[in-house]
């Protein structure tokens, strides 16, 4: 019996109990994430091998909270999804937290999920990774971390976000890819 890979993505489904619920507030304007990142890469000063960038906010990343059925036991009710939060509302702010090293073709992003929410941090990190994957030249190396001491399971989240094999497997899960695409859709306008 081949088990269905419904629960193939550990990033979303392992910490189900951490799922936060609150009343959605008004959406902010979405800025263009794509050109934002290109600006980061292209506007580094000549002669600097490492450029520390100032405050930046990842705009335009809508996160939908969705519950899905698990493998164990019977299928759970699929709850009505969708309490969309923009990352601005969640105050995922990058302050002095994007390191771009053009000479080494290296980007490190450190983000603060102020909602201390296990699965949220990994979803946000995954969205960031996908966005960068689609925006940066293929040879760039990317490290994504949560700001130190901003999250209860900081090292566990960091490890998962930077395990290339785990990310690749997660992105073969169509449900997760759909969610990520939906999150990033406003950023392509």
């Amino acid at each position: 019996m081949v088990s269905k890979l419904i629960n193939a993505n550990p990033i979303v489904y392992e910490k189900k109990e951490c799922r936060a619920r609150s009343v959605p507030t008004a959406m902010e304007e979405y800025a263009d994430l794509n050109s934002y990142y290109h600006a980061l890469i292209l506007n580094s000063h000549h002669g600097n091998t490492k450029k520390q960038l100032g405050k930046g906010i990842i705009p335009s990343c809508k996160i939908h909270m969705v519950e899905e059925e698990t493998l164990e036991g019977g299928p759970k009710d699929i709850k009505d999804p969708k309490h969309p939060y923009s990352l601005e509302e969640l105050k995922v702010i990058i302050e002095d937290a994007i390191d771009v090293d053009d000479q080494q073709s290296y980007v490190r992003i450190t983000f603060t999920p102020t909602v201390e929410h296990c699965s949220m941090a990994t979803i946000i990190g995954l969205c960031l990774r996908v966005k960068l994957l689609r925006s940066l030249p293929f040879h760039y190396k990317v490290d994504i971390r949560v700001v130190p001491r901003s999250h209860a399971s900081e090292s566990a989240v960091n490890k998962q976000l930077n395990d290339k094999e785990r990310v690749a497997a997660a992105l073969e899960n169509p449900n997760l890819v759909d969610m990520v695409d939906e999150c990033l859709a406003p950023s392509y306008d």
Binding site: S3, N7, R166
Partner: protein, 360 residues
């Protein structure tokens, strides 16, 4: 050939294209590379296929540099997700293939065509590695479900699961049988290497190599044995390689199992995750890493430290345009190495002496 830094160069013989997604791993067919049989290897990709590559036989036996490689077969339409790794049976007649679709397929070479003759199911999610034992009687698989499965090969290409081994606390990245003993090694996202042996068909974890044993401090991605099987090397996300040896002086345990102990750590040479390591029959350790470089290490016999140490023989920067996922020495006489990368290509290299001007 002299084995000191600066004495060798890595020559690129050919770049093989064909896969349409990253190449995760490649494995040489152990029964090839003889006078009668040209070298063959299999490669696994995110494009859900396995490709079989063969060297064109060349008229002169010394001109490995002039032979080219062709893709002889594409094993497709079987797996529905990434094909992560594969393993040839010792006879070279069967190929076991591990996939993220949670199955392991077994292929048989039937007169040049490959047929899928069996599919092993059981893992709950991605299967990441598969390995045949030295006699071809046992197969091991492992995956993200944290388990290691042992299967027994039966007549008619049937496989029976003889054990499901729990013990790792996280995703198991690779399994590998010892080259001579029926002892299984697994390495994991939980930062440990576990050793599994059987006592009358009852398989148990007989040793765990973790941080208390001078083990790794992050995910262990791969391991490889030296030719005689008394040493092994492991590579990790912690940016080090570690050498371990079998402590044959303490064969005291009841089941005669000889424990492994840390010998030395090769540190300071890698700046990003090391995904693959392979120990050649001559003792050269090759590593492939996420910084796109291939490095070679040999034992430093002139070292001033107590105990064995290893030195860098050669570093090939930008060996590929993206992360290197797998490096494998070929069987046979020549010092050939194949590398597989996220850039979708496979490269065949030869480690050669540098011309000193005194002739060959």
């Amino acid at each position: 050939m002299e084995l000191y830094e600066g004495a060798c160069e890595l020559k690129l013989l050919q770049t093989l294209e064909g896969h349409t997604d990253r190449v995760w791993s490649l494995v040489w067919n152990p029964a090839t590379g003889t006078a009668e049989t040209p070298l063959v290897f299999a490669s696994c990709s995110g494009d859900k296929t396995v490709r079989i590559w063969e060297q064109n036989p060349s008229p002169s036996s010394s001109s490995s540099s002039h032979s080219s490689w062709n893709c002889k077969a594409v094993l497709e339409d079987t797996h529905t997700r990434t094909v992560r790794s594969c393993s040839w049976s010792p006879s070279g007649k069967l190929l076991a293939v591990a996939s993220f679709d949670a199955t392991t397929s077994i292929w048989e070479n039937v007169g040049g065509d490959f047929e899928c003759v069996s599919t092993l199911e059981g893992h709950e999610n991605e299967v990441k590695s598969v390995s045949w034992n030295a006699s071809g009687t046992l197969l091991a698989t492992c995956g993200r479900d944290k388990s290691v499965w042992i299967w027994e090969a039966q007549p008619g290409n049937e496989f029976e699961c003889v054990s499901v081994l729990q013990g790792h606390s996280q995703d198991v990245k690779m399994v590998l049988w010892h080259p001579t003993l029926d002892v299984l090694f697994s390495c994991s996202y939980d930062n440990t290497v576990k050793v599994w042996a059987d006592d009358d068909d009852d398989w148990q974890c007989v040793q765990t190599l973790g941080e208390p044993n001078n083990g790794h401090s992050s995910t262990v991605w791969a391991l490889s044995f030296n030719k005689t099987g008394d040493k092994m090397v492991t590579c990790s996300d912690d940016l080090t390689l570690k050498i371990w040896e079998m402590d044959s002086t303490s064969m005291q345990s009841a089941d005669g199992y000889a424990p492994w102990r840390h010998l030395c750590t090769i540190t300071g040479y890698h700046d990003r995750t090391i995904f693959s390591v392979h120990w050649s029959s001559e003792g050269i350790i090759a590593s492939g890493a996420a910084d796109d470089a291939i490095r070679f290490f040999v034992e430093d016999k002139d070292g001033l430290v107590d105990g064995p140490s290893y030195k860098l023989l050669l570093k090939e920067e930008k060996a590929h345009g993206m992360d290197i996922n797998s490096v494998q020495w070929s069987p046979g006489e020549k010092r050939l190495l194949a590398s597989a990368s996220d850039d979708g290509t496979i490269k065949i290299w030869e480690l050669a002496s540098l011309c000193t001007g005194n002739g060959y």
